[in-house]
Every structure is written in C-alpha cells, then in structure tokens.
C-alpha cells in the first residue's frame, strides 16, 4: 500500500517533484564541487609547488661567469638539506619572432631557454602530466606567453640571438610552478637537448647569457642569507611563501570560485529546506486523513522520509556525476596555469554527495516532526497552511489607493515574510557576490589602483620602453637616461602635445639592518620625484641618507620609521633613516624608495617602468585618446604599448580578462539560480494558493490579474534583495577584496564604484530575470478553473 501511495504521490505532483529533484541534483552538484574546490584552493600553491619540487628558497643568477656560482656558495652551507641547480640560456623575449620575422612580443624581459633533460623542476602539460620529453625541432612554452601573444600550438617561432637562428614548432604549453605566473614576467621555453646545444654552440650566448636556477630545501632561511649574499649576479631570489604570492592573481579567481561554491551550497540548502517543508506542509490534509483512518505517526513519517530518501538518492547520484565536470569548469580559470588538486580527489565528491543526501533526509525528518503533535482534526483544519493566528500585515487595502493586485503582492510579503525569505536570501547572496566582483573588476579596470604600481597621481599616457632603453645599454647612467627621456618629451611637445616625460627605475642594493643583510629593491625616478609616491605614514625621503619602505619591507628588515639601515650603493655605504611607509604592488610590495639624490648606478639596475607622459595643457579624455594614437605612430608602438592610466593599471594587474570571465560566469550561474528558485517557489505557491486563485477567478479576477499579483511578489522580493545587495556590496567589497590585494602589497584600496552598474544595471538584470521567470511560471494559473473553487480541499 505504501508503495502505491508513493507511486501516486510521485505521479500526481509530477512538476513539484521534478523541480525538487532538480534542486537535489543542483544541491549535490554544488556541495560536491564546492567542497572539492574549497580543499583544492586551500591547498592551492602548496600542492603545485610540492608536485613541481620548488623547494623552500629559489635563486636565479644570470650573466657572465654566473654558472657555478650557486654551487660554490652553497656547497658548504650546513643549513641546507638539499638543493638542485639547473642551467638555462637567458634571451630577451623580443628575440623570439614568428618565422616570417614579425614580432611576437616587444618586451625586453628575458626568457629562459632550457633543455628538458636538464630541468630540475617538474613542468606539467595541460593534463597535469610531467613533461619529460620534447622532440627535436619543437618547443614547449610555459606560462601565459601563448595566450598573451596570440601564438598557438602548431605554429613556428624563430629564436634569433647573437649568431644563432633556430626555428621551432610549438608543441604545447607547460605549467611552470616557478615562472608560470604573469607576475614573474619571465617565461620558460623547454627545448630538446640538441636544440639547446645549438644555442650553447654560440660563444656569446654560452659566455654572457647563461644563468642558473637553484631550488633549495632548507628550514633556516635566515642562516641561508649568510651564504646567498656571497652569490654574484643574482637576478632573483625568494622564499617559497613569496613565490606563492605571485599566484595570488590566479588564486583570486580560485578564491572567488571558493566563495561562489559556498554561496551555491547556502542557496542549495535554503531552497531544499524550503521545498521540503513546503511540500510536507501541503500534505498535512492527507496526513490528517491518514491519521484519521488509524495510521501511526511512525508509518506516516516513514512514508514521507522514504519518498525524500528515494528522491535524494536519485538526485544525489546524478548530482555526483555532474559535480566533477562542473567543479572543473569552475576552477578552470585558475587551473589553466597551475596544477591544482587535493589528495582526497573524487572521495570528497562522494562524501559530499552522501552528506547532501543525509541532510535532505534530515530536513525531511525534522519537517515531519510536526506530524506527531497533530491530531487528525488539527491536521485537517490547520496543517494545510500552517498559518499563525495573529495579525499579519500592518497595511490595509482600505487605507491605501493602491491597485488591488499591487496591494495583494506587497501585503503577501509583509504578511508572511518567512515565505519569501528563501527567495530574498538566495537572490541577495548571489547578487551581492556578483556586485563584489563587479566592483573589483571596475577597480582593476580603472586608474584607481595607479598608486599601487606607480606614483599617486595618474599620468595621462604610459608608453613601453623605446628602443634606446633596450639591449646592451647597461653602460648608460642616470644622466644618459635623463637625456633620452627629455628628448622624448621634446619630440612629443614638438608634435603639438606639450608634456613632461618621467619614469622610475628599480635598483637592487644590499642593505644591512640590525646586523642582518638583505637584498632590497629601490625605486628612483627620473623626472618623477620621491615626493610623488603615496605615503600613508611619515614623509618622503628628501635627503641622500633617507629611504621610505613598504610595511612588508619594514617587517622583513625589522626597521620602522626613524630606524637606520645601511644601504650599500657599491661605491659607498650610506646609513639611511627610514622616513615613511608607502604601498605598492610592484615586487609583491617588497620595495623601498630612494631620495632623488641617492647615488644610483646602472650596474645595479634590475628594471624600469613605462614612460609616464604628463601633458601640461590639461587635455580632456577625447584628446588624450587622440594623442595616444599620435604617440603610437610617432614611436611605432603597438596598441598595447601606449596606454592611458586605466589601461596601465589593468595591464599591471594582468588578471582583468580572467576576472571578467569569472564575473560573467558568476552572473550566468546567478541567473540560473534565480530562474530555478523562482520556478520552484512560484510553483509551490501556486499549488498552495490554488483555492484562493480559483476563488479570485470566480469573483471576476482575470488570469492576467493573478499573473500580475504573483509576478509582482517575486519582483518585489528581487528588488529588496537587489537593493540590499547593492548597498552592502560597498562594505562587502572592502571586507573581502582588500585582504586579497593586501597579500600583494596593497594596504588601502580606493575602489572604483560604478553606481550605474551596481545600483541600476545588475539589480535590473536580476529583477528582469526574476520578473520574467515568475511571469512565465505564473501563467500556469491559467489552468486553474473557476469551477475548481468547489472541489478544492
């Protein structure tokens, strides 16, 4: 008999049961993929670094006589457990072209060319398998080089350096734990041993362009510094934790997926609880009848629990299988460049699916608890609605002039807010998250972050380094660079664009603080003063013996404002006072500022910024865009080499396209959730209010009025959720995103909020989707006949 009742129930409430099953599938899918992603993201870079064998400390050396330096310095270091050294040829990226000679990338950043047999770091292919072989005549390129420069697998590239010229076919992309991040700026090219030897055959390359990379295992990095300061030609050195931070951009996307997963899990459970309690509440009349004919509580409860168990198991199994591709899709934006995973793997999905099934059965169990307390009469009389017996709404139709359908919609929400809470919470959570991401992307795309990459005030135009700065110009000193920059300013001014041009340079000097030695990066500008950086505490360094530091550096070298550290400029050592704190995301915040007068030398130059052009005649935005084109033509620069302030910031952050993709993915998922929640809840409401709908129709209300009434309720709920989300998105953005930027060196973020987007566009999208879905779903009321008013239980 039970089986028959169950069968009839599944048949009779087909739509509701299908919608509920759909939600069980979604809940399982969200919970399984969500939990798996949470673990994956939390493991994040550690998993990748362990798999690749990055070690605890990494050093790169480059230049003449650099091969062998690392081993010489570290061989006797007793603080080291183990270390591995690999050699590579360092060639400027602009020496890699297409086979027809066209440029791929004009940057002068070096790329590392290495024989796959010689690699001491595990590099992985797109399927996360270790790359052990590269065919002769082929190359595997690591990082985002291919996406960034629009080259694809199968294409040929030409490496032309010194007297060597080799054409290689791109065999694929590699995931490089050390140099794979956009922030490192250097790419690794894995070659076949024979091709690598062709490069080494060139005397200039083998003498001047060789370098080493060491992966060191140690528990005592402080002791290690004693040995590393002796190594000449260090191009980069950093701890494992520091390397992790360069993946923060990838991890931002991953963390967004994590938060999204948590949101989806919340929404899934809220909706499940609603639908189960609602469908069971609907069945109180039947429950009452069953009790009246003598069925025991336990039997009745078992009936419903079995029904939900069957649905939960079916939904759970489907959800489990769907969770694997869905989870991969979510994490894809982050895993393109990284090997992400966790040791538990698919077990997490299985566990999560079982957990979801258990929760559903628990919900069903708790919802059927009320059965025990009810007498048959109670169940028949009151169980159907479960309404409370007290004044419901504080508004009244007889005191308003509102249209009855509009009033009924508003009144329903005010009278039974709990019923609409599922809708409001679900929409609020999803909309809030979309808006936080919108605010983040808007900020990244604007010039708001300019002080995190350069000085406080944005310049009008930023241009890539012109030819004079590239190549073997290391003999240039500050005055030579100044002359070049001023010449550039004169040329641009002569074209009718009066301006000044400046840029800042990054030097690497040894510093000693409280007896410990460190290598530190320093800014010093030409035509850009130290005063122009944004200091949030203290003042700019004015004198030769003053420096400013970031909080990260302050912590690393244990020097606060007022403390003195010794900077070794090569020619002289100067005791410098720390005068202020500033923030930057350059070098992950590990930067200092020298005074304009500090005695710098190009021997210690490790990098420089773009040219910053400031027009002196205050052009408007349109004019700036025109001038961008003119300057581009004047210096034969590509589009991405001439940028306005917003483009400069977006370029520095580098993750904007990924974030935009995640934003649209999230919006898509939010819309999907909105549609599903609306359909489920509206169908539940129609089912519950069948009697009232039939009565209204009998009284002369048209189907259109009923549809309007029902759609408006969802519209109002969506508006409430959207307003709440829009208002709270501002503090929520600060709360969630500032710590992420903080990990990359930023302290205070001046977010760029776009009111039209957060208060109008996105809320409107959510409202429109909700309203249209509710409207379409409520058209089902058309099938309720007026004559049903007599037959309604």
């Amino acid at each position: 008999m039970y089986f028959n009742i169950l069968k009839k129930d599944l048949k009779r409430k087909k739509t509701m049961n299908i919608v509920l099953l759909l939600f069980i599938i979604l809940a399982t899918m969200f919970v399984s993929s969500g939990l798996n992603n949470v673990l994956t993201v939390l493991n994040g870079t550690d998993y990748f670094f362990d798999k690749a064998g990055v070690g605890d400390y990494v050093i790169i050396t480059m230049g003449e006589n650099s091969v062998g330096n690392i081993s010489n310095a570290l061989d006797n270091a007793d603080c080291i457990d183990d270390y591995r050294v690999e050699t590579a040829v360092f060639i400027n990226q602009n020496n890699v072209t297409r086979t027809d000679g066209t440029e791929i990338n004009s940057t002068s950043n070096v790329a590392l060319f290495q024989a796959v047999d010689n690699a001491k770091l595990n590099i992985f292919d797109k399927n996360n398998e270790k790359i052990t072989e590269v065919n002769e005549g082929e190359v595997i390129i690591c990082g985002k080089y291919m996406e960034k420069n629009n080259v694809e697998t199968g294409e040929y590239i030409r490496i032309k350096a010194s007297d060597v010229e080799i054409d290689l076919k791109i065999a694929g992309k590699g995931k490089d734990a050390f140099l794979g991040s956009e922030f490192m700026g250097n790419y690794r090219f894995l070659l076949n041993k024979n091709d690598y030897e062709k490069l080494l055959a060139d005397e200039t390359l083998s003498k001047k362009s060789m370098g080493e990379i060491a992966y060191i295992e140690t528990d005592d990095i402080s002791a290690l510094h004693t040995y590393t300061t002796k190594i000449e030609n260090i191009m980069f050195e950093g701890r494992r934790s520091q390397l992790s931070t360069v993946y923060l951009i990838e991890m931002i996307a991953a963390f967004i997926v994590l938060i999204l997963s948590v949101c989806l899990v919340i929404v899934a459970f809220v909706v499940l609880k609603f639908s189960i309690s609602f469908t069971i509440a609907e069945e109180y009349r039947e429950i009452g009848v069953m009790k009246a004919i003598g069925l025991k509580n336990g039997k009745i409860r078992t009936l419903y629990i079995v029904k939900y168990l069957i649905m939960a198991v079916i939904g759970g199994i489907i959800g489990f299988f769907a969770s694997v591709p869905f989870g991969n899709m979510l994490i894809m934006s982050a895993s393109n460049n990284m090997v992400l995973g966790n040791d538990a793997g698919i077990l997490i999905n299985i566990f999560s699916s079982i957990f979801t099934i258990a929760v559903i059965v628990m919900f069903a169990y708790s919802c059927t608890k009320k059965i025990k307390k009810l007498t048959p009469i109670d169940a028949i009389r009151n169980g159907q609605t479960g309404e409370r017996f007290k004044k419901k709404s504080f508004i009244s139709l007889n005191r308003t002039k509102a249209n009855p359908t509009v009033y009924m919609a508003v009144n329903d929400i005010l009278s039974a807010p709990k019923r609409f809470m599922t809708v409001i919470i679900s929409f609020f959570v999803c909309t809030l998250f979309v808006l936080v991401l919108v605010n983040t992307v808007s900020t990244m795309k604007s010039s708001a972050l300019v002080n995190l990459f350069s000085v406080e005030e944005p310049s009008h135009i930023y241009t890539a380094a012109s030819e004079e700065f590239i190549g073997d110009n290391t003999s240039y000193e500050k005055e030579d660079y100044k002359e070049l920059i001023n010449e550039m300013a004169d040329e641009i001014t002569a074209e009718g664009m009066p301006c000044t041009v400046g840029r800042h340079f990054i030097y690497k000097y040894k510093i000693t603080s409280k007896g410990d030695e460190f290598a530190g990066n320093f800014f010093q500008g030409i035509n850009i003063s130290a005063d122009e950086f944004a200091y949030f505490e203290g003042t700019a360094p004015q004198n030769i013996n003053e420096i400013a530091v970031t909080p990260q550096v302050s912590e690393k070298i244990n020097a606060k404002i007022g403390d003195t550290v010794t900077v070794d400029f090569g020619t002289e050592k100067i005791d410098c006072i720390v005068t202020g704190y500033f923030q930057t995301m350059q070098m992950m915040g590990e930067m200092m500022i020298l005074s304009d007068e500090a005695p710098v030398s190009s021997h210690y130059l490790v990098g420089y910024s773009m040219n910053e052009i400031r027009f002196t005649d205050n052009p408007d935005e349109k004019e700036i865009e025109k001038r961008k084109e003119k300057i581009s033509e004047l210096y034969n620069l590509k589009d991405n080499e001439v940028q306005n302030a917003a483009e400069f910031c977006a370029g520095c952050v580098g993750v904007v396209p990924t974030m935009e993709a995640v934003q649209y993915l999230l919006l898509g998922i939010t819309i999907l959730i909105v549609i599903l929640v609306t359909v489920l809840v509206e169908r539940s409401f129609i089912s519950d209010e069948k009697g009232q709908i039939a009565m209204l129709k009998a009284l002369g209300f048209k189907t259109g009025d009923i549809v309007k009434w029902h759609s408006l309720r969802f519209g109002i709920a969506a508006v409430i959720a959207a307003i709440l989300a829009a208002v709270l998105s501002i503090p929520a953005t600060d709360l969630c995103i500032t710590p992420v930027f903080g990990m990359m060196g930023a302290i205070n973020i001046d977010y760029n909020y776009e009111p039209l987007k957060i208060f109008l566009f996105y809320p409107l999208v959510i409202f429109a989707v909700t309203f249209v879905t509710a409207w379409l779903t409520s058209l089902y009321t058309k099938t309720i006949k007026t004559s049903e008013v007599s037959g309604i239980e």
Partner: protein, 255 residues
Amino acid sequence: MSTVLKAKDLCKTYIVNKRQNNVLKNVNFSIDEGEMVAVMGPSGSGKSTLLYAVSGMDSITAGGVEFCGKSIEKMKEKELAELRLDEMGFIFQQMYMLKNLSVLDNIILPACQSEKVKESRKEIVQRGEALMRKLGIIEIADNDITEVSGGQLQRACICRSMINNPKVIFADEPTGALNRASSDEVMSELAKLNREGTTIMLITHDVKVAAKCTRVIYIVDGNIKGEYNIGRYENPSQLRERERTLNNWLMEMGW
C-alpha cells in the same frame, strides 16, 4: 418582471477515463428579477455544475445561457471575468477569502478591482462598512479571517458578493459548513437581501434553507424533475408551513 437568467437546452458533459458523463441534459429554466431560487437534488445530480455553468464559471457543452439578455456561452474568458466581477456575486460553502487580507479588505476587493466602479477608495470602504453594519459584523472589519467565526465569515462573504451591486448572487451551499444557528442567521440575511430586490440562485440540501426561497428547482441526474413556487418569504411565522408544504412536494419528487 424581466428575466435575468435563462438556460436553454443546457448540456454539460465530462469525459472521464474515455467515458462520457452527461452531467446536465437539456436543462431549461429561467430566473426573473427579484426571485430567490433554490436548486435541490441528491448528491451528484448536477446542482453545482448547473450553478457554475449558468454563472459562466464553467464552460457548457451545448445549449445556451442568457444573462440579462446576453448569451454568455460565446463570451471570451476576459468578458466572463468582467461579467462575474460587475454583474454577479458569489458565495461558496467553504467561505473562501484571501488569508493575508483583513475581513473588510476581502469585502472591498472586488470593488477595488472593478473598472466599472468609479467611486473613490474611501467611498468603497464606506460602502463595505455599511454592508457589514447591515449584516451585523462591523466589529470584525479589521480582523484577520482566522479570528472570526464561520457564521461571521459567511456573512462577510455575503457582503463581498454584494459589494458591486450584482444583478444575481450565486450561492453554492452557503450554509453547508455552518451550524444551525449560523445557518439561520445567514439565510435570514439572504432572504432580507432578496426582499430588498436582489436576485439569488442558491444550491442547498437543506429544506429549512429552501423554504426561505421563492421557488425551488428539483434536479435529478442532470434533468429538472420539477419546480415548486412557494412565494416570497416574509416573516418567520410562515416558515413552519412553508417547510411542511415543501417537504411534501419533495417527497413527491422522490427526495
């Protein structure tokens, strides 16, 4: 007196499990303005179907229904809705009302919805309150529908059915869910409304209810078996006699 409702060869057929079920078979009857007609008959005889068919709530299979001279079987759903809203009033056995509205709001809802009603909201409210006062339930105006008794609620339903000054009130077993005392109160009110000129068609199983009507139609198996005109009910002293004669007639009909 003019005819407000006329059914001509009215048929209603349902198909259940591929079997044709003729619920109404060529039913012919008419109701004049000011009449109060009770439809009686055994369960399943087609009483409610007849009421829903002639009030435009349900479609008909064949024949025709004229309401105030207009054929309603050809009307579209929207026109029928307007007709029900502006020209008809309804009272149901289950005292259906919107749960989230107060009693007064439920009563004035059809007037607020009607495009024909040109009064201000204030005037509508005053009219609703006047009706409530007339039926002795003004004290429950602001109450929730769950806070009042069944009799009070059914009287509120009568007020709602009257709010748009309908030409006919259709009542489907209006006292079916009430106890005797409440039932008497409700019927007294309906009879009073009828004396004041409102045309009423009601379905009932109760002889005491039918005895307060002007005419009784007896229906069996979808056919009208007989009609009995008992004249207007004026005061309670007539009631016993009316019940007795009606009972006798019903016995003849096979009740």
